[in-house]
């Protein structure tokens, strides 16, 4: 039977028996270390920080990023913004300009007037507010072809 192993009777190998690093390793190591510490770039710092951050920090960051992406896509995908209505656009035009346009530029004929009762009479009330005399004057100024009204 073999005797028990005693560490203090075993010849100590110093240094610990491990193969040496590659030739020139210790000549190059200071240069490599200095390259890391001398001018670190921001992406490198961020990557290192992320790599060294605790697991719960990385998990919460990933969750926040995922949630943020989802919320952004939901918000962006909600459909096109509503266009302002024609009536709302006309509300911004001064009354005088509207009347001038209708009186000078617009070419109303009797057909328009004949079709007018077929439409809701209040169609222009939200942007055109003529008084009764103004309306009568405007209509009287138009040439009439009575045959068209028959």
């Amino acid at each position: 039977m073999k005797p028990s192993f005693r560490l203090d009777q075993h010849p100590r190998r110093w240094p610990q028996p491990l193969s040496a690093p590659p030739a020139g390793y210790f000549e190059q190591l200071p240069t490599r270390v200095m390259a890391q510490v001398a001018a670190p770039t921001r992406p490198w710092q961020l990557a290192t920080w992320l790599r060294q951050a605790p697991a719960y920090v990385r998990t919460s960051l990933a969750s926040t990023l995922l949630l943020g992406t989802f919320a952004a896509s939901l918000w962006l995908g909600a459909g096109p913004a509503r266009q302002p209505s024609v009536a709302a656009g006309l509300d911004g035009v001064p009354q005088e300009e509207l009347v001038d346009y209708l009186a000078s530029e617009a070419h109303l004929d009797l057909t328009d007037l004949a079709e007018l009762p077929a439409r809701p009479l209040g169609i222009t009330h939200h942007y055109l507010h003529p008084s009764a005399p103004e309306l009568a004057d405007a209509l009287d100024a138009q040439p009439t072809d009575e045959a068209a009204l028959l």
């Binding site: 028990s4 192993f5 610990q16 210790f26 190591l29 200071p30 200095m34 510490v37």
Partner: protein, 190 residues
């Protein structure tokens, strides 16, 4: 260059890089071998050694000179090693013995121990120790570091370190003896 000269030059932005370069050159081998004994693999030791010096660079400005510079660097290196081994175990869901077995496999492949059977058994026995106990064993047995300095490096009391080293030696002797017995029995069977 003495440590106090390195520290003084490091405080001056004009000579900071030069001082740090001197520091790396002065301590690189000690740090590397301290790390290498814990992680065995050269590539891992290389990465960790660089990480240690990057941390030293970042925190050297805050270093209080009530401790020795080398003890402080050793402490950073020790923490890096223990964190590395712990994260490796956690990442691959490995129990303690599996990491020891992986390190032992790397050691067996190392030509430095090839052919020396009893030395290989001793090294395998050391690798079976828990990380912190292995660290204590390496510091005492191979580096012959005084217990007081070990206490500064590990943040453990001298009494606890002595007990830890004593238990480590017992475990190693038991393991090598048992391995010898198994080998002896198989020799008999043949």
């Amino acid at each position: 260059m003495e440590d106090h000269e390195i520290l003084a030059k490091f405080q001056d932005p004009a000579s900071r890089n030069l001082a740090f370069n001197q520091l790396v050159r002065k301590y690189q081998q000690k740090v590397y071998w301290h790390v290498r004994k814990m992680v065995i693999d050269h590539a891992d030791a290389d990465d960790l050694t660089q990480d240690v010096f990057v941390k030293v660079w970042k925190h050297l400005g805050d270093f209080r000179q009530d401790a020795q510079l080398f003890t402080w660097i050793y402490r950073i290196a020790t923490n890096e090693c223990l964190s590395f081994l712990q994260s490796k175990r956690r990442k691959f869901f490995l129990p303690l013995n599996d990491v020891g077995a992986e390190l032992a496999a790397k050691l067996e492949a190392d030509p430095a121990v090839a052919g020396d059977e009893i030395e290989l058994k001793l090294q395998k026995a050391i690798l079976r120790l828990p990380d912190k106990q292995r660290l204590v064993f390496n510091l005492r047995y191979y580096d012959e570091m005084p217990y007081e300095q070990m206490a500064e490096v590990t943040g453990t009391s001298v009494g606890a370190l002595k007990a830890s080293y004593h238990h480590a030696v017992r475990k190693i002797e038991d393991y090598v003896t048992a391995a010898d017995m198994r080998g002896y029995s198989s020799d008999d069977a043949n």
